[in-house]
Each structure stands twice: as C-alpha cells, then as structure tokens.
Amino acid sequence: MTQTGTDRVKRGMAEMQKGGVIMDVVNAEQAKIAEEAGAVAVMALERVPSDIRAAGGVARMADLTIVEEVLKAVSIPVMAKARIGHFIEARLLESMGVDYIDESEVLTPADEVYHIDKSTFTVPFVCGARNLGEALRRVGEGASMIRTKGEPGTGNIVEAVRHMRMMQSQIRKVTGMSRDELMTEAKELGAPFELLLQIHETGKLPVVNFAAGGVATPADAALMMHLGSDGVFVGSGIFKSSNPAKFAKAIVEATTHYEDFALIAELSKDLGSPMTGIEISKLEAHERMQERGW
C-alpha cells in the first residue's frame, strides 16, 4: 500500500526546495556554513565548478568520503553530482542515501549519446537544460527537477539569463499555440509530445525549474527569481567570495525577498568581493560546459 520513488514523491521533494538556495560545498565545514545561512540543500562536491575549470582533466563524481562527511554533517538534504550517462556513479550515490542526484554537465560526460534512464531510480534527479526541448527530454528520461545550465564556474550570469528567458518564452509560445500545431513543435524542439501537451494545458513545466550556472551576488539571485526561477543553485559563488558566510546569507535573503529592492540593496552593502568572473567570449568552445548534454 505504501509506495516509494513515485513521480509525486520525487517531484514533490523538489517542490519543497522552492524559493530556496542550494549551495555547492566541498567539505563538512562548508556544509555547516551553508545550513547555518539557511540553504535548503547542499551539493556535495570534490571541487566547485571554477576549480574544476582551473584544474582541467577528467572531472568525475566526488570522492565518496566527502559525500559521506557532508551527509553526516547536516540535517538538510544532500545532493551530489554524477557524470552524464554514468548510471553506476548514480547508483553508488543512491546507495549512500544521497537525497538528490545532479546528472551534471559540470563533470566530464561518460556517455556522449545517452543520458541516464532516471525513471528506474528511487532517488530523484535534477538535470541542466538550455531550452524547453532539452528540459523535456530530461523530464522524459525521468528527471524530477530542472535547472538552467548557465555557464558554471564563471560567476557570469549572462548564460543563465539566456537559458531562463529561452525556456520561459518557449513555454509561453507552447501555451498559446493551437493543439494541432503541437506535434510539429514537438518535432522541432526535440521534446516528447505528451509533455508538450501537458505544458500547453497547464502553462508550466511539470517539474520545478531552478537557476544555475553563474549566480554570484544577491542581485543575481533576485534577477533569476524575477525571470521565473523557482529557486537558485549557487556553485562557486559562495565559497569563492571573500566572505562566504555573509554571501550565503545575503543570497538566501535576496531569493526569499526578491521583490524587496530596498532590502536587497541593504544586504548587498559591505559584503566584500564576489568571486572573480570570466567573460563567456574568452572561453574556448571546448571549455563551455553548457554544450555537454544531448
């Protein structure tokens, strides 16, 4: 009579994160700082995206001792990243009791054709997307939560804005279409027809959609909320800033009160310096993580 791992339970978990901030952490100490600042979840990693960028080479699932350390350190949910298509990394994370898995373009893909069949897992997944077609392919594979890809580890919000605007405008377009136009639209977007039909009827994605990939300041977080994000992932933006505890708290508050500009102005003062940013045009094509995913 009781059922685990249903769509409702997996998607519902993401619903509970709405309006919140999920923070990348690389050890127990950072996880505690994030929890103390009011994060709704932490993402346990071996290196934050900007360090992955700097280090180069193959980026894999985190050392599981780090994941274990973080699981023990906090009572909020713990997420962890698996490589695109690496369903064994995902199974290992699931077996350890991780609460959410990010099949992430931040890591080096393990499969350049297929993503993980996420519907076969009890643990829910979040995946990155740049547009509606990509988002719905991931949902079709069983993702229970979507986030924009942005351009991870750059501290530059421009790509996250591009992806969120693209998704919102495509959702509006599909909502306004007549039903007989949907199949061709599904073909063009590369999206499952049934999911497109669902958006046509409800006017929204069937899962929660967060912003990720470039959030570095409280104002960035508020910007993404105004553009229609359900919440925010902050990767390098917190622990690569000059004052992580303060930045973390300020980004949490700006996400909750994204319409209160006087408040965001107040908490943006005296913060110290944010992470150093990278101009997207300075990245070589192979350095752009957002291109990973199919």
């Binding site: 009579m1 009781t2 059922q3 685990t4 791992g5 249903t6 409702r8 339970v9 519902g12 978990m13 619903e15 509970m16 994160q17 709405k18 309006g19 919140g20 929890e35 600042a37 009011g38 994060a39 709704v40 979840a41 009572s75 909020i76 949910p77 699931e94 009791g97 991780v98 609460d99 959410y100 009890t122 643990v123 829910p124 949490v252 508050e253 909750t256 009160h257």
Partner: protein
C-alpha cells in the same frame, strides 16, 4: 461554503503556490504572506512544507516569531504541514529550541529516513476522510502528544496528523495532491474561529 475569510500562507520558502491553489479551488481568498503587517488581515495561517531550518531562520531574521504567536493567541487557527508541523511544535527531538512553540507535541525530523525512503500511502484521517492520499517527503513524525491533543491519523502505528483546538499539524503534504478535504477542514476551523471572535 466559502465566505469572506482570508487565509495566509507563510511564503518564506517551500510549497506555497500549491496551498494557495487548493484554497482557490475551494473558492477561498488565500494570500502569500511574507511580512508581519500582512498577518493582521488574515483569519487563518498555513505554514507550508519546505526546509524547516531555512524557514525557521527566516522567521527569526524577519521577527515573525512573536507576530505569529500573537496571531494564534488572538484565537486564529494555524495549520502546519511537514516543515510547518516542525515549526509549530513545542518540542523537537534532539534539537535545541522550538521555532514557534504552539502545538503540544514532540516531533522528530526526517523520521522515516532519507529521500529514498519517502513514500505515499492512503490513510484514514479522523473527521476528514477515509482514504486520503498522503505524500510523505523526508517527513517528520509526532513521537509524543500532550493531553489536549487529538490524534487524527497514524501510519505504521506512528502519529502523523493531530489537532489541538485551533492548531492543525500534519506530517505529510496534502498540498501535493488535488484533494481539498484537509484544506476544507481547516477552513471550517477558521470559520468557527471567526464566529467565536465576532
């Protein structure tokens, strides 16, 4: 059955929209509440699911604790679901201090395990329904209840729904289904409270 009552849903973080939608479905005015001043106009308050530590911190940061305690003291009903139940509990197991010590119960956070142990089940809820689809997500359990607390539902012999006068505490997520029966039940609590206050 809906009248002029206004229900607030505390909107610091979590599943706010889902609660608003269910009240709207019942034809009731429901509003996302982020600041103290908004509380005065409300006849009932819902504290939704989300992350209790995150919501708890924001309650303290924006001095909402006393205004919500006063709201209840004025005779207005409060309904907590999942994280909201933790937030209104008088005692939290293995934890320092309560957030809004209203409901005379002890709750244990993440009592069923981690997310992979989250589940859904059909439950009877006293006075509400025989077959309510209850969605438990990293849910808390009520491990002990005070003398004035009425147990409304249990799962695996553990208490998951209670009422104490104007307080309703549920460890699952009625807002993740289309079932409005628990919200209608809370609405009737609000209507009775309005009658009493007028």
């Amino acid at each position: 059955m809906a009248g002029k009552e206004k229900i607030g849903v505390l909107a610091l973080q979590g599943a706010v929209r889902e609660h608003l939608n269910l009240f709207h479905k019942l034809g009731v005015e429901a509003i996302a509440v982020k600041r103290r001043e908004q509380l005065d106009e409300m006849d009932g308050l819902v504290i939704p699911g989300g992350e209790s530590t995150a919501i708890g911190k924001l309650i303290r940061q924006y001095d909402l604790r006393n205004p919500i305690m006063d709201f209840y003291a004025k005779g207005k009903p409060v309904f907590g679901t999942c994280a909201g139940l933790i937030l209104i509990a008088k005692h939290i197991a293995e934890n320092d201090e309560a957030h809004l010590p209203l409901l005379d119960v002890t709750v244990q956070r993440n009592a069923f395990g981690r997310q992979v142990d989250s589940f859904e089940a059909d439950l009877p809820i006293k006075g509400v329904a025989e077959d309510f689809r209850a969605v438990f997500i990293r849910a808390p359990l009520i491990t002990s209840v005070g003398d004035d607390v009425d147990v409304l539902s249990t799962v695996r012999d553990q208490v998951v729904a209670v009422q104490q006068g104007n307080l309703l505490g549920i460890s699952f997520h009625p807002e993740l289904t289309d079932d409005t029966r628990l919200h209608a039940y809370f609405l009737s609590m609000v209507q009775k409270a309005i009658e009493k206050l007028s």
